[in-house]
């Protein structure tokens, strides 16, 4: 069965990784998302772009939180950007919207 999500990866010149998310992030996305973030943090900053994400639950949010903590451990940058609609609201209610940067 096809995934409900896609994680597109782009590398910037300074080594930062942009993870462009499409689709619905739930527990089925959690491990892939976490791995992609951790892999990116190995090379530099990671920016998770949720512009095309249509769904986010607490499980997938857990992967983002793991990324936040891992980035702090490595003193790398980690941001979550462009959350909209219900995805933004989930981040807000969970109290992490400010944590993840503008």
């Amino acid at each position: 069965m096809a995934n409900s999500y896609k994680i597109g990866q782009e590398r910037a010149a300074d080594g930062a990784t942009f993870l462009r998310i499409t689709g619905e992030l739930d527990i089925t996305a959690r491990d892939d998302l976490r791995e992609a973030i951790l892999a990116g943090l190995g090379d530099g900053d990671v920016i998770v772009d949720l512009d095309a994400a249509t769904f986010l639950d607490s499980e997938a949010l857990g992967a983002l939180i793991d990324g936040y903590h891992a980035a702090r451990d490595r003193t790398a940058g980690f941001r979550v950007v462009n959350a909209r609609g219900m995805v933004a609201r989930v981040l807000l209610v969970s109290g992490v919207l400010d944590l993840f940067g503008p």
Partner: protein, 182 residues
Amino acid sequence: MNYLIYFNGRRWDVPCGLGLGRPVIRRAWSDQCVDSSDLGKMDGMALLPASVPHSSAAVLRSWTLDGFQGLRGLRAALRDTVAETSGRDLGDVLDRMSVVVTELATNALRHGLPPTVVRLLRVGNRLIIDVADHDLAAAPRVDEDRPLGAGGLGLRLTRTFAIDVGWYATDGAKHVWASFPS
């Protein structure tokens, strides 16, 4: 059949037929409030008031899940069913229901025995998502390999996005329900 109900911080054994529309008190319950040893002492479920389903609830649709891969289809089917049955513009209710059904079903799939049965009910002017699993012996627990607080986040989202949230136990099944405007 008798149900356990917790209201105003005390435990009552009441016969079935008590309505869902009762005001529920949202506050932390002490472990003493949980009667059955297997009904979630250690986790967020103990923070939900237990209340019984309404005897006149109409089941609009029922889904059976056997794995996490079914969650996306469940969200889509729930949206379609609610959109069909509701006559008015629901605003963000569909979005809120999508999150809550995912949170409750994920929890049931993780901690309960299959099948996980999700039902959409109508009770008065409320739509109810009712998720049942069939493992009373293994209450929802905080997984030790999960990041601290991840389980609590799901409960917080559910309680924020739904009007009321509660649980009840029947023979062989534990149900968690959440209500929404219709």
